[in-house]
C-alpha cells in the first residue's frame, strides 16, 4: 500500500476514525427518518436521498455502543452490493490524504470486525474502518 489515498475523518462514540473517501458517495444532513420495526438494532431507518431510498445505519450501535441520536445528524452515503446506505456518525470532521498501513492495535471484537488498517494524521494514529463492516453490524459476528 504505497499509494496515498483520501480518507474521511469522522467520530464514533468520541473516537476519531477514518473511512476510505473513495467509497463515500456523499455526506448529507439527515433530518427525519422512517423507522423500521423489528430489524437489527443498528439499522435505524429509511431516508429519502432525493428520489432514492437509503437505509440509515447507526455506526455507534454497529460497534456495540449505546445509541445517542439527535436529528439532524450527518450521514455518510455509501453503496454496498447495490444498496444505498447512510452511515450515522457523531461528527464528520475533515478529508485528509494519507497512506494506509496495517493496524497493529489490540482491539475488542466489535472494533476488530470493522477495522481494516490505520493512517497517521498529524502524527496521531487513526484507525480505518470499513463501511461495509459497519453496515453488516454485529449479526455477522455471531454467524
Amino acid at each position: 500500500m504505497n499509494d496515498e489515498a483520501l480518507f474521511l475523518l469522522v467520530t464514533i462514540a468520541g473516537r476519531t476514525v477514518a473511512t476510505p473517501a473513495a467509497e463515500v458517495r456523499a455526506v448529507i444532513e439527515i433530518e427525519e427518518i422512517t423507522p423500521i420495526p423489528r430489524v437489527a438494532p443498528h439499522v435505524v431507518g429509511l431516508y429519502a436521498l432525493r428520489s432514492r431510498v437509503v437505509t440509515v445505519v447507526d455506526a455507534r450501535v454497529s460497534l456495540g455502543e449505546a445509541a445517542e441520536r439527535r436529528f439532524p445528524a450527518p450521514g455518510v452515503v455509501v453503496r454496498i452490493e447495490g444498496h444505498g446506505y447512510a452511515l450515522l456518525f457523531d461528527e464528520v470532521i475533515d478529508v485528509v490524504t494519507a497512506r494506509a498501513a496495517p493496524s497493529v492495535a489490540v482491539l475488542g471484537a466489535d472494533w476488530a470486525r470493522v477495522v481494516t488498517g490505520r493512517i497517521t494524521v498529524e502524527e496521531q494514529p487513526v484507525l480505518v474502518v470499513s463501511p461495509a463492516a459497519l453496515v453488516a453490524g454485529r449479526e455477522r459476528l455471531a454467524a
Binding site: 422512517t34 423507522p35 423500521i36 420495526p37 429509511l46 429519502a48 428520489s51 431510498v53
Partner: protein
C-alpha cells in the same frame, strides 16, 4: 426483419460476448466443467433457436458441437486441444453467420462440412493441428442497429433524475406562490410542469412492459415445434396484460422458451399415444401470468404424459449424481426436483429440440439469479405444472397505505380481501385460546394487532379502529388491526437492504409522493412470523351459502354535509390541494394538478385555503371531487336502492344503519366530459308493470349507460313492458313469457342480451 429473428441475433450476440472470456480460458483449461457447461449451453441454445427459426445451417453446426461437448460431459470422449479448436472454430462461425444473417436477413449458402469433419478427425486419431478448421473469411460489414439496447441502469438514473426534477418543481411552485410573480413567470412555470409530467410519463413507460410481448413469440414457436415433432398442441395464453419491469421480461424470456420447448417435446405425446391413453389428440399447453402479492407467477401447464419422478431418480443414480440410499429417502416432490440438476433428463432419445438435461438446470439458474423460484408439480399421465415466481422489483403496484401509531406502511392491494371497521355490525372480536380472533359475517379469522406485532411507536394495543383482511400468496388469511387506512396509491417498489429483507416482514421500500420512505409489508412473511398458517379460518365457517355481491366503497363527507360514498375502484388518490390551484371559468371549476387541468366537482362552497379532493378516474378520464373529509373504506352489500331521477347520486346504500348516497360516477364523468348528460340516449319506460320497470329495468339500463327519461323529456326510445303502448319514435316491446307469440315482435323481459341489443339498435339511429 422478423422480430423473432432480430431477437435471436441479439441474443446470440449477447451470449457470444458473455462467453468470450470462457472460450479463451477453456483453451488453457479444457477440463474445467463450468467453462464447458457455459459453452455447451450456448451451442444448445443456438441449436434450439435455429430449429424453430428454420436456420438449418446454424442448427447443423451447433448440433455437431453439442454432440462433441456432450460426449466430453459424459466422459466418453477426451477433451483434446484439436477438439477445443474445432469447437472454437464452430463458435466463431456461428458468430460470423449471425452477422451475415443480420445484414442480409438470411443465411448465405455455404459448406461447413470441413469444420464439422474436424470432430470426426479428432476422433480417429490425434492428427496434427487440424487445418481444415480454418475459416474462409466472410465479407461482411455489421449494419448499424435500428434499435438501441440501453442498460437498464441508465434508465434508472434517468428515472431518478426526473423524480428529482419533480421534487424541485414542487419546491419552485411553493416559492412562486409566496413570491407573487407575474403572469409571464406563471405561464413559463406551467409549461415546465407540462414538460416534466410528459418526461416522467415516458420514462416510467420505458421501463414497464406488458408481458404479452413475451407471449407473442410463443404461438409460432409451439406451432413450429409441433410440426417438427408431429405433435398437435393448442396453446393458450392468459394474463398478457400483467405489467412487468422490462429487465424482468428479458430475464424470463429464455427460461420460458425452455419450458415451452420441453413441454412440447417431452410432455405432450404424439396424437396416437394420446388417443390410446384416452385423451384428445390435441394436447393443451396453457401459459398464464398473474400478480400475486409482490410476485409475478407464470404457470406453464400441459396435459401431457407428466414426469416420472422415479425414472428421474434412476437416471440420477445412473449418472452418479445420487446413491440408491439417498434416493430411497426422497419424497416424490424431491425426486421431481431432480429435473433441475445438470446432467439429469428423462428423455429417452436425444432430439434436435431439447433433452440433454441442459434446459431445466439453466431455467432454474436463470430464474434464481433474479430472485425467483421454479417449482414443478406432476402426475404421471396427467401432465406437468411448472410455476415460475419472479419478484416484482421496480414494478409499479397498486397499494393501500395504512397507519399503525406513528408508522405508515404500504400493503399490496392484491393482498387485501376487504376492509371493515372494528366496531361494525357484523364484526365481533374475541379470543380463542391465547390468540385473538375476529368473526366477520360468520367467518372466523385470526386477528393480528399489527401495531403491537411490529412494535410500532405510538400504537396502543386494542386501540386499532380498522380491520384489514389480508391474504398471503400462499393462501394464509388473517386480519390485521390497524389505526387507519390512509390512501390508495400506485407505488414503485424497490428491494430493501439485506438487513431489512432478513426480517422477512417487508417486501421492499417505496417512496410515495410525499417523499417520506415507506416499507411495503410482506403479507405471507408476516403471517409466517406471527405463526398463522395457510388455511386457518377457512374451515371454521365455510363461505356463506349464497355469496352476496359486495363492493368496496370510500365513505366521505361531502361539502354540503351529506354522507356520500364512491366506488373505491374509481379513486386514484386522495389529495389536499391549495385553493389557489382551483379556478372557476366558464361556469366550471378546474383544478391545476401535476401540470394537468382537471375538472372539479363540488357540491358546496369550497371550505378554505386547503381543499381535500378525491381524484377519480374511469380509466381514461380523470376528474377531481372536492370533499369535506374522508371517513373510511368499507365493503358493503351491493344492494343499491336506485335514485328515481338521473343525477349525481346513483342511489342510497344502507351502511351501519345510516343512509349513504352512492355517487353516480357515470353521471359525473358524462357531465364533466362537456357533453353534459346529453351523450347517453334517453329511454322512456312505459307499460302496466311500473314497479318492475323502475326496480328492475331502469337499473339495468342505467348500468348499460342509458338514461331514463323524465316526464317532459324527449325520449330516444320507448320501452314498453307488458301491455299496450305506443310511441312516436323507436319502440322496444317486452313480453312476460319466455316463448314468443305468433305475429308479435317482442323480447322476453329477462332476455338481458336481447333486450340491450334491441335498445341499442333502436337508439343507434336517433342519438342526439
Amino acid at each position: 426483419m422478423d422480430e423473432l429473428l432480430a431477437d435471436f441475433i441479439a441474443e446470440t450476440r449477447e451470449m457470444l460476448d458473455a462467453i468470450a472470456g470462457a472460450l479463451v480460458r477453456w483453451e488453457s483449461a479444457p477440463e474445467d466443467r463450468a467453462l464447458l457447461d457455459a459453452i455447451f449451453r450456448f451451442v444448445h441454445t443456438v441449436k434450439g433457436s435455429s430449429g424453430f427459426l428454420d436456420l438449418p445451417r446454424l442448427g447443423h453446426l451447433s448440433h455437431a458441437a453439442e454432440d462433441a461437448l456432450a460426449a466430453v460431459r459424459d466422459g466418453t470422449r477426451a477433451c483434446t486441444p484439436a477438439m477445443v479448436s474445432a469447437v472454437l472454430g464452430i463458435v466463431d462461425r456461428i458468430g460470423q453467420l449471425t452477422d451475415v444473417l443480420e445484414a442480409e436477413g438470411r443465411l448465405p449458402d455455404g459448406d461447413d462440412e470441413a469444420l464439422i469433419a474436424a470432430f470426426t478427425l479428432t476422433e480417429v486419431a490425434e492428427p496434427a493441428p487440424v487445418e481444415t478448421a480454418e475459416i474462409e473469411p466472410l465479407d461482411i460489414v455489421r449494419s448499424p442497429a435500428r434499435s438501441m439496447r440501453l442498460p437498464v441502469d441508465l434508465l434508472d438514473r434517468m428515472m431518478a433524475g426526473v423524480s428529482d426534477v419533480v421534487l424541485a418543481r414542487n419546491e419552485l411552485a411553493r416559492a412562486l406562490r409566496d413570491a407573487e410573480v407575474g403572469a409571464d413567470a406563471r405561464l413559463a412555470f406551467e409549461r415546465l410542469t407540462l414538460c416534466v409530467a410528459d418526461i416522467r410519463d415516458a420514462i416510467t413507460r420505458t421501463r414497464m412492459t406488458r408481458i404479452d410481448g413475451l407471449f407473442a413469440a410463443l404461438p409460432r414457436m409451439v406451432r413450429d415445434l409441433g410440426h417438427t415433432l408431429g405433435r398437435q398442441v393448442r396453446l393458450e395464453t392468459d394474463g398478457g396484460d400483467v405489467e412487468l419491469d422490462r429487465e424482468m421480461i428479458e430475464m424470463i424470456r429464455d427460461p420460458l422458451t425452455h419450458i415451452v420447448r420441453n413441454s412440447v417435446d417431452h410432455g405432450i405425446e404424439s396424437p396416437q399415444e394420446r388417443v390410446a391413453a384416452g385423451k384428445p389428440a390435441t394436447g393443451r399447453l396453457t401459459i398464464s401470468a398473474r400478480q400475486a402479492g409482490n410476485q409475478i407467477l407464470i404457470d406453464a401447464v400441459d396435459d401431457g404424459r407428466g414426469i416420472d419422478a422415479d425414472r428421474l431418480a434412476n437416471k440420477a443414480i445412473a449418472a452418479g449424481v445420487l446413491t440408491p440410499e439417498q434416493v430411497q429417502s426422497m419424497s416424490w416432490a424431491r425426486k421431481l426436483d431432480l429435473m433441475f440438476m445438470p446432467g439429469v433428463s428423462t428423455a429417452k432419445a436425444v432430439t434436435a429440440i431439447s433433452g440433454r438435461g441442459v434446459g431445466m438446470d439453466v431455467v432454474r439458474a436463470n430464474v434464481e439469479r433474479i430472485g425467483g423460484t421454479v417449482e414443478v408439480e406432476s402426475r404421471p399421465g396427467r401432465g406437468v405444472r411448472l410455476t415460475m415466481r419472479v419478484p416484482l422489483t421496480l414494478t409499479i403496484i397498486p397499494a393501500l397505505t395504512i397507519a399503525c401509531g406513528r408508522h405508515h406502511f404500504a400493503v399490496p392491494r392484491s393482498g387485501i380481501d376487504e376492509i371493515v371497521r372494528a366496531n361494525g355490525v357484523s364484526v365481533r372480536v374475541g379470543r380463542l385460546g391465547d390468540g385473538a380472533i375476529v368473526e366477520i359475517r360468520g367467518r372466523t379469522l385470526p386477528l393480528l394487532d399489527l401495531g403491537a406485532f411490529l412494535e410500532c411507536e405510538g400504537a396502543r394495543a386494542g386501540d386499532a379502529k380498522v380491520l384489514v383482511v389480508l391474504r398471503g400468496s400462499g393462501g394464509e388469511r388473517f386480519v390485521a388491526a390497524v389505526d387507519a387506512v390512509l390512501d390508495h396509491e400506485e407505488l414503485v417498489v424497490k428491494p430493501a437492504a439485506p438487513a431489512i429483507m432478513a426480517t422477512g416482514l417487508f417486501a421492499g421500500t417505496t417512496l410515495p409522493d410525499d417523499s417520506r420512505p415507506m416499507l411495503l409489508l410482506d403479507i405471507g412473511g408476516i403471517a409466517a412470523a406471527a405463526g398463522i398458517e395457510a388455511g386457518i379460518g377457512e374451515s371454521v365457517a365455510e363461505e356463506e351459502a349464497a355469496p352476496e355481491r359486495r363492493m368496496s366503497i370510500l365513505l366521505f363527507r361531502d361539502l354540503d354535509g351529506r354522507e356520500r360514498a364512491v366506488h373505491l375502484g374509481l379513486v386514484e388518490h386522495i389529495h389536499d390541494v391549495s385553493a389557489d390551484d382551483i379556478a372557476e371559468s366558464g361556469g366550471r371549476l378546474r383544478l391545476a394538478q401535476d401540470g394537468q387541468l382537471l375538472q372539479l366537482q363540488a357540491f358546496g362552497p369550497l371550505p378554505g385555503a386547503t381543499v381535500r379532493v378525491l381524484l377519480l378516474s374511469d380509466g381514461t378520464t380523470r376528474m377531481a371531487y372536492a370533499v369535506a373529509g374522508v371517513a373510511d373504506v368499507v365493503e358493503v352489500a351491493d344492494d343499491l336502492s336506485p335514485s328515481a331521477v338521473p343525477g349525481p347520486v346513483a342511489g342510497v346504500l344502507l351502511h351501519e344503519g345510516r343512509q349513504v348516497e352512492l355517487v353516480d360516477a357515470h353521471w359525473l364523468f358524462a357531465d364533466l366530459a362537456g357533453a353534459g348528460a346529453r351523450a347517453a340516449p334517453l329511454c322512456r319506460l312505459s307499460g302496466v308493470d311500473d314497479a318492475w320497470s323502475a326496480m328492475v329495468l331502469a337499473p339495468l339500463l342505467i348500468a348499460a349507460g342509458y338514461r331514463i327519461a323524465g316526464a317532459g323529456d324527449d325520449a330516444d326510445v320507448t320501452i314498453v313492458a307488458g301491455g299496450e303502448g305506443e310511441a312516436d319514435g323507436p319502440l322496444v316491446r317486452l313480453r312476460d313469457e319466455a316463448t314468443p307469440q305468433a305475429g308479435e315482435a317482442s323480447i322476453w323481459r329477462y332476455d338481458r342480451a336481447g333486450l340491450l341489443d334491441a335498445v341499442r339498435m333502436a337508439t343507434a339511429g336517433g342519438v342526439r
